[in-house]
C-alpha cells in the first residue's frame, strides 16, 4: 500500500497553502500524520492552563470581572425595558445568563485582537471596551451609536475596538472570521481572531467549512461555541448528533475543550490557553462554554417550551449571583461594595439610556455610506419606493 503523505509533507511539496506566507510564530511541535490518533488536548470541564503560567488573580481583578458582569446584566435588563417602552425596535437578543462567558472570553483577548460574534453581542461590545452609551445608542438606532444607528442590536461594529461585527445570519460570522484570520496571517503580527457563536450554529455548513480551512491552513483563530442549550426553542440534543459540541474539533484535528461558562475565571483561563496557542503557534482552537440562557431567545419570546421547573432551575444557575456569592465567601466582596458597584453600573446604564434617548436619528441620506468599506461595482443604492429599474 502506498504511503499517504502527511499533510506537512504534502505542503512542503509545493501546495500553495496561503498560510505559508505567514510570519513564523515561535516553536511548533510537528503534528502527527494521518493514522496516528491525536488525543484531544483537553477534555471535560476543565482546561488545564499549561501554556501560560498564570499569576494568581488579585482581588481587584476578580471584583473587576464581577463589575463587568453586572454591567452586562444591568445593560441587558435596561435594553429589555427600553424594548417594552418602544424605544428599541426590531430584533433584540440578550446575554442574560451568559455574563461570565462574555467577560471571561474578553479578558483573554488583547485590545488588538479581533472579535466576530452572532447577534447576541451587546455584552461582548461592552466587555471589549466600547462605552455603554454608544452601544445603547445603537440599539435605539441613533447616529451616536457604534454603527452610526444603521446596524441596530444585531449589527454592532467598531473597527477601532476590533469588533468586526455581530451577524444576524446564523453562522454568517464563522467563515468571515476564518477570512480575517487568514488576513492576519498574511499581514504578519501576532493578532488573534476570536469567533463567538451559539450551539445551534455548529450544525451550519459554514461552521464546518471554516473550521476545516482554519485547521488546514493553521489560522490564528479561536472558535468559541456558547452552548446555552437552545437554538431558539430547539434543545441541543435535538439538533446535534454529537451534543458535546467541543468534540467536533476532532474532525479537524483541532485542539478543543469544554468549560463551565458560568465560572468567569475558568472561562478566562480556558480562553487564554486557546488564544495564546493561536498567538504563539498559529493554531486554531475550538472552545465550548456551557452557559444558561436565562430568558427567551429574544425579547419577544415567552419561552413556553420551558417548564416551570426548568425556569426555576435557571435561577439557581445565574452566574452573576453565583459570582457575587463566591467573592463574598472568599471575603473579597462586602455587601456594601456589592451595592455600591450595583449602584454605579446602574447609573452608568441609566446614563447610557438617557444619552441614547437624547441622540439624533441618523439622516436617511447616510443610509448607504457604511455599506461597503471600498467602492463596489454595481452597488444598488435604492431606497424603498425607488423604481427597481431606472430608465
Amino acid at each position: 500500500m502506498a504511503e499517504t503523505p502527511t499533510r506537512s509533507a504534502a505542503r512542503s511539496a509545493g501546495e500553495a497553502a496561503p498560510a505559508r506566507a505567514r510570519r513564523s510564530r515561535g516553536p511548533r511541535t510537528p503534528r502527527p500524520g494521518p493514522g496516528l490518533p491525536q488525543p484531544p488536548d483537553t477534555a471535560g470541564a476543565e482546561a488545564p492552563d499549561t501554556a501560560v503560567p498564570a499569576a494568581p488573580d488579585t482581588a481587584g481583578t476578580l471584583v473587576g470581572f464581577y463589575r463587568q458582569m453586572l454591567l452586562v446584566r444591568r445593560f441587558e435588563e435596561r435594553a429589555a425595558r427600553a424594548y417594552t417602552e418602544a424605544k428599541i425596535g426590531g430584533y433584540c437578543h440578550l446575554n442574560l445568563g451568559e455574563e461570565a462567558t462574555v467577560v471571561g472570553l474578553m479578558a483573554a483577548l488583547r485590545p488588538t485582537d479581533y472579535l466576530f460574534t452572532n447577534y447576541r453581542e451587546h455584552g461582548y461590545a461592552l466587555a471589549k471596551g466600547i462605552g455603554a452609551d454608544r452601544v445603547m445608542a445603537e440599539l435605539y438606532g441613533r447616529s451616536t451609536g457604534v454603527s452610526k444607528g444603521w446596524g441596530g442590536s444585531m449589527h454592532l461594529f467598531d473597527a477601532e475596538a476590533r469588533l468586526l461585527g455581530g451577524y444576524g445570519i446564523v453562522g454568517g460570522q464563522v467563515p468571515l472570521a476564518a477570512g480575517a484570520a487568514l488576513a492576519v496571517s498574511y499581514k504578519g503580527g501576532d493578532d488573534v481572531v476570536m469567533c463567538q457563536m451559539g450551539d445551534g450554529t455548529t450544525a451550519i455548513g459554514g461552521f464546518h467549512e471554516a473550521l476545516n480551512i482554519a485547521a488546514l491552513w493553521d489560522l490564528p483563530a479561536v472558535f468559541v461555541v456558547v452552548n446555552n442549550g437552545l437554538g431558539m426553542g430547539t434543545a441541543v440534543e435535538r439538533s446535534a448528533a454529537e451534543p458535546e459540541l467541543w468534540k467536533r474539533g476532532a474532525a479537524y484535528r483541532m485542539a478543543s475543550a469544554r468549560v463551565d461558562g458560568t465560572d468567569v475565571v475558568a472561562v478566562r483561563d480556558a480562553a487564554r490557553l486557546a488564544v495564546e496557542r493561536a498567538r504563539s503557534e498559529s493554531r486554531p482552537y475550538l472552545l465550548e462554554a456551557v452557559s444558561p440562557r436565562l430568558k427567551g431567545h429574544s425579547v419577544v419570546d415567552p419561552a413556553r417550551y420551558r417548564s416551570k421547573e426548568e425556569k426555576d432551575a435557571l435561577k439557581d444557575a445565574d452566574p452573576v449571583a453565583r459570582t457575587a456569592r463566591r467573592l463574598a465567601d472568599a471575603g473579597i466582596l462586602s455587601p456594601e461594595d456589592r451595592d455600591r458597584i450595583d449602584a454605579e453600573v446602574t447609573a452608568e446604564v441609566e446614563a447610557a439610556a438617557a444619552f441614547a434617548d437624547a441622540s439624533p436619528q441618523p439622516d436617511v441620506s447616510t443610509l448607504f455610506d457604511y455599506t461597503y468599506a471600498t467602492p463596489v461595482a454595481g452597488e444598488q443604492r435604492r431606497l424603498p419606493a425607488d423604481p427597481v429599474f431606472r430608465s
Binding site: 435588563e77 425595558r81 424594548y83 417594552t84 417602552e85 418602544a86 425596535g89 426590531g90 425579547v299 419577544v300 415567552p302 413556553r304 417550551y305 417548564s307
Partner: protein
Amino acid sequence: MTEILMPRLSDTMEEGVVSSWQKRPGDEVRAGDVLCDIETDKAVMEYEAYEDGVLDRILVAEGETAAIGAPIAVIAPAGGVPAPDPAPAPARAPVPEPESEPESAPLAVRRPDGARPPSSPLARRLARDHGVDLAALTGSGPGGRIVRADIEAAIRAEASAVPAAPEPVRTRAQDDPDVEAVPLNRFRKVAARRLTESKRDAPHFYLNREVDAGALAAFRATLNEVLAPARVSVNDLVVKAVATALREHPEVNVSYTEDALLFHGRVHVGVAVAVPDGLVVPVVRDADRKSVSRIGAETRELAVRAREGRLGAQDMSGGTFSVSNLGMFGVGSFSAVINPPEAAILAVGAVRDEPVVRDGRVVPGKRMAVTLSVDHRACDGATAAKFLARLAELLENPLLIVA
C-alpha cells in the same frame, strides 16, 4: 408612585390584553417578579416588575385591553407612606384618557359608518372562534372598543336565542343552574370537526379479530428485563407490528382523494393520547424503521408533551395510519373513528386472561381483541383482511416484529 405602563412586547403589537394579574393590590413586588401576563397579537408574555415596591392599584382588570404606554397599574414605594387616597381596586378598568389610544391604531377606531368597530385582539379571536360578527356588536370598552365580555355576552345571547324545537327536552346551560357550559377548547373543536367529517364522508367498515397474546405478553416481559430501566409497552409492540405490516401492505397505507388514491411511501403511525381536555394523536414518524424501544421512548415523550400542551402542529400531522388503545382502561374491544385523511385505524383492547384451546385441550391463555376501521373508498374488505391477518401473525409471533 410609579405607573406601570402597558408594555410593547412585539414589534407589531399596538395594544395588549391583561390576561391575568399575578399580584394583587397590597402585594409586595420585587424587581424581576412577574406582575401579570399580557396577551399580545402574537403570544402571551409574562411581564416583570422593574422596581421593588407594593402593588397599590390595578388600573386594567383581567381580560381588558390597553394601548401600549397606557397605565395599567400603580406601584408604591416599598415600606413607603401609604397612598394618600387608597382607592380600592376598581372591579373594571376605568375608561382611560382618550389620548392613551394608540396613535397608530387602525382606521377602525374612528369608525366611520359601516367600518369595523375597534376591538381587542382577544375579542377578535373569540369572535372568530365562535362565529360572532363584530360589526353587529356595540363595545362596552373604552372608546366603544369591543372586549371579551361583549363577545361572551353575544355568545350567551345567541345560545339562548336558538329555538329549542329540534331537541325539546334539552335545557340551556343559561337557564339551568345544574348545568355548566364549558366553552369548547381548541382540541375539542378540531376533533369534533374532523371526526364528524370522517364519519360523514368516509364509509367505515369494521374487521374484528382476536389475537392470541400469550407470546406477546411473555415477549414484552423479557424485553423489559433486558432493557431495564427502559420499558416497552404492549402498545409500542403493536405500533411496530402495524408499521411492519403496513410496509408489507402498501395498499392500506393510503389516502383517498377525489382524484386519486395516494400511496404513502413512508409509514407514520399516529398514537391516540388522552389529554386532560381532549384527545390528540401525535405521530411517530417512520415507525417501520425504528426499533420498538425507540418507538416507546418517542411515544412517551410525545405523550408527556401532549399532556403539557406542548405539542406543535408538526407533531400531530402527516400520519398515515393510527392506533388507539383503550386496553389500559379494561376495555375489551371497541371500534374507532378513522382519523382523516388516513384510510384506517386500529382499535386495541386489553390483554385478557382467557381459557384457550390448544392441541385440543383447554388451557389458561391470553387474548387481545383488535378492530380495524377502514375507509371503504380507499380499501376493500379482502385487502384489509389480508393486512389484518398479517398483523395478527406478527402479534402472535412477536419475534417477527423485531426481526
